[in-house]
Symmetry: C2
Subunit: 552 residues, 2 copies
């Protein structure tokens, strides 16, 4: 085999081996620590720690500490080959050398380059592991609780994200003005849109980190649903908001408020959200129809494979068509759990759940290890003390400004109020993680981009370690139930039966004609309730009134 090819292959193998080794060390260490009753450390924190250790080791081995970092070959991938020949052929002795144009070298564009730039594209990590993580979260969400808390979850997720984005943006913008006053930054370094962009990127709490903690501690189910539902859905909000602000600022309307650009970006926000939702739902409908009208369930292996591939496709198709992959796979997971799951054989149900569970678990570890690794290996960190202070302060202020007022408003309408203790814990559990990282890493070509990148990594590290570690004592201090078992079907059915008994028979006879969606539900979902024609069976999950959802 040729030299370059072989070297490239070898480093790819070494890289994979390092990743697998890291994952193994993380799993075993965290598990052993938990056995020794150090319940404070979870897999995400452990993975990030070991990733940092690896980064430190590689950095020390390759460059000593610090000063030589800039000498490494940075392959700049920003700036497309616009007016530059795509390849240059140089006549050197007897051989021709083809030299490929890689990109412009400028002060503004040292990209996320580590010695592995050529062999490893983090996009692979996010294409492979983020979809199963998000899907698994949505797929295993307790549907009954989710529907019961639907309004609150949506409020926290979408209104909360917008509040967070604005407050973080404003707060950080204040600090950047202070930096200008103190002479730590030039006047044109940070625009308001940059700060809002940062606000959007870090506004979402991370489902991976939140899930790691919640499933470990098994907190009260309503709190679990509120926190996890919020963290899953606000990713959608944050991603689309980020795109919208990028669209706005790319329209050259940076310094002053530009109403048409603003409207366009709001339209974009809504369009992407609706498009991604529809796309995710389309894949669910395809899966549901396939599993209902064919005898695929006779072969659980095929069933699982088709289910897995179609769910993953929702992410890829959304990305390929310029929509949000995460939002699509999220809605796909939610609706698969509502419709398709009833068409699967019992073995198929078990297999799909276990498959996504393993992928979720390993993906979580790989992504957090990678974040830890990049935190120490990224050669162009820009740490600005005031910006970092502003960011840390603002995420707490913004979370307080979203959780308490929104809870107060929601409690006005809820029958089961959100207790004060839950609010305190929700305020506290604002972990940032994989999604924020995947958003900020996309543009590290500018000083601002790099400042945001480095600050976000610090935020992720801080919330994962410090807040993650303090969560268990915090729960005890707040006297919140832990070690709660998941709902079983009995309780669930009794809720359904109870509500069913409340509905007059005359109303039941009217409903099918009133709700065209009932027909749709009958078409794609064969569960008994639907066939029997009870009210609860005839409405798609999202349209049913609170309390009527069949849990899993």
């Amino acid at each position: 085999m040729s030299g370059t090819g072989k070297t490239k292959q070898d480093s790819a193998t070494l890289l994979l081996l390092a990743a697998v080794g890291l994952a193994l060390i993380t799993i075993l260490t965290v598990w052993k620590l938990k056995q020794l009753k150090y319940r404070l450390i979870n897999e995400t924190g452990g993975a990030m720690f070991f990733g940092m250790l690896l980064g430190l080791t590689v950095r020390c081995m390759l460059f000593g500490w610090g000063e030589q970092m800039d000498d490494m070959e940075t392959v700049c991938i920003c700036g497309g080959p616009n007016n530059t020949p795509h390849s240059v052929t140089v006549n050197n002795t007897s051989n021709f050398h083809r030299i490929r144009h890689v990109g412009k070298v400028s002060q503004r564009c040292p990209s996320v380059s580590t010695p592995h730039t050529e062999t490893f594209d983090p996009e692979v990590l996010f294409n492979l592991f983020l979809p199963p993580i998000i899907f698994h979260g949505a797929y295993t969400l307790n549907q009954k609780r989710f529907i019961l808390n639907l309004g609150s979850v949506f409020t926290f997720a979408f209104l909360g994200t917008i509040i967070n984005c604005i407050i973080v943006g404003a707060c950080v913008y204040g600090f950047t003005r202070l930096m200008v006053l103190l002479g730590r930054a030039a006047d044109g370094d940070f625009f308001l849109t940059d700060c809002l962009l940062f606000g959007a990127m870090v506004s979402a709490t991370d489902p991976v980190a939140v899930l790691g903690l919640l499933s470990e501690l098994r907190v009260d189910l309503d709190l679990h649903t509120l926190l996890f539902g919020e963290s899953v859905l606000n990713d959608a909000g944050a991603i689309v908001l980020t795109h919208a602000i990028t669209t706005y600022s790319q329209m050259g309307a940076e310094p002053n408020f530009d109403p048409p650009a603003f409207l366009l970006s709001v339209g974009y926000f809504l369009g992407v959200l609706a498009g991604s939702f529809l796309l995710g739902f389309t894949f669910t409908v395809t899966t549901a129809l396939l599993t209902k009208f064919t005898r695929l369930r006779e072969n659980p292996l095929l069933e699982t494979s088709v289910f897995f591939l179609l769910s993953w496709s929702s992410f890829l198709a959304a990305k390929a068509s310029g929509l949000s992959g995460i939002v699509a796979v999220l809605f796909c997971g939610l609706s698969q759990a509502r419709y398709t799951i009833h068409n699967l054989s019992s073995e198929g149900r078990c297999r799909t759940k276990q498959l996504f569970e393993v992928l979720n678990f390993l993906g979580e570890i790989f992504i957090f290890s990678y974040m830890g690794y990049v935190l120490l290996m990224f050669p162009h960190h820009v740490f600005k003390a005031l910006f970092i202070t502003g960011a840390f302060l603002s995420i707490f202020i913004s979370r307080a400004c979203s959780i308490y007022p929104l809870s107060f408003l929601l409690n006005l309408g809820r029958t089961t109020k959100i207790p004060r203790t839950f609010q305190h814990f929700m305020m506290f559990a604002g972990f940032r993680g994989a999604v924020a990282f995947s958003l900020v890493r996309r543009d590290t070509s500018t000083e601002v981009g790099r400042t945001i990148f480095s600050t976000t990594l610090l935020l992720v590290g801080f919330t994962t370690w410090v807040l993650g570690t303090a969560a268990d004592p915090m729960l005890r201090r707040l006297n919140i139930r832990v070690g709660v078992e998941a709902d079983d079907d009995t309780e669930d059915l009794s809720v359904e039966a109870r509500l069913h008994s409340l509905i007059p028979t005359t109303l039941l006879s009217l409903l099918p004609s009133t709700f065209p969606s009932a027909l749709f539900h009958l078409c794609i979902c064969p569960d008994l309730h639907a066939v029997k024609g009870t009210w609860s069976g005839q409405l798609p999950g999202f349209m049913r009134p609170e309390g009527q959802q069949r849990g899993r």
Copy 2:
């Protein structure tokens, strides 16, 4: 996001989407055809067919048909940057452009370049999917039958591979001489070592294709074990033989026989085989010790993850240390099934089996689709009619020369003879596939390399489609049992009990001290037989006499 990065990301997403789409179409079509009683087509053949369709479509869309193929940008990755500057900086207008050296351009080195060269490295495919496929094959091999047929399997696998390699090499060399005589090739185009290398590369039957067929038809279990055991182990033989011949020819001893180089390559063959075996076994011992001496089994998710990561590591570690990854993961699978499986919780056993089953199934489809795709997209195919004729003839001749004489020899010593019908079917079932492809694709820099590459792809296509399709009628014609269920434990235990009763108690009391391995077995495997101290429990699987193996 930067332009180049975004384009690269987009095409990566599109590529993944295409792969997932192909897999879905393959699964559904083949399944539907099977339902309609077209049992002749299997997943591997279907995947290759759809891969070719995709290749054809892309080719037509991108270049029309044929003539413009050479104009596409081929990024040549062969030939390392020896005396060439690693990067060149060109001052163009106000920006500096960094241009990276990619490789030498010469007539001899247009590598496997498709428009996706930059976004997709097939190494990823083989690093990700080949290990689970091989592992799954070894892990689910019926251990009892395997031990019963151990001698025969090893004979067919290793002696058979060497016979195949020599006969194919000699036969094809004869045809290349004919090509020289007819003026179709120059005298120095094909050396004997090239032909032997080709022989080694295509000598191995493919476990993926064989398994696809066998598990579909559920043939007689002894025939299954012989064919599958052979196909799994002869990969090891073929890979190591290929390396050995490469080593031999790289020592510059091409034209004449060179005893020291030959001895060295034989030594290399044995060294790599032993090293890979030991490495695979080391990972098994680690897993077995971990699962025995810790309480990992209390958490099936962790158990499965650790088991999966350690098994995969055996492949990566072997590759990283210059050994054969496939051989290591193969022995790892065999020994995990012998030792570690008894330490897993019942849920863990089920999960690991199902996880590898899905990965195997999808991996098989992805790899065969890719082969089909490359068959039409590779821009530098070299089809030489005489070489191809020689190759097709020689694989039949060599298979006949290995199966019949070896069966005759083996039958002299076997209690249950290999029937004539089995021999005919084994002779027939010489499918070539993923392993042969993974070996030939490594060097397509020379005319010879490309001739071998193209010919092998044709061989793979022919054996997968023609032989694969004819297998079912062939079995019926030969009157071989199909639709056989796997052995159950009852029969199995009775075999063990039957043999156990034959062993005098006095012999039993002597055995532990006679066999130090008994202690080892007691250490890593907790199954009851071992704890009770019966003879069958005290010996590691491979050392037990025939018929005493506990099946799964």
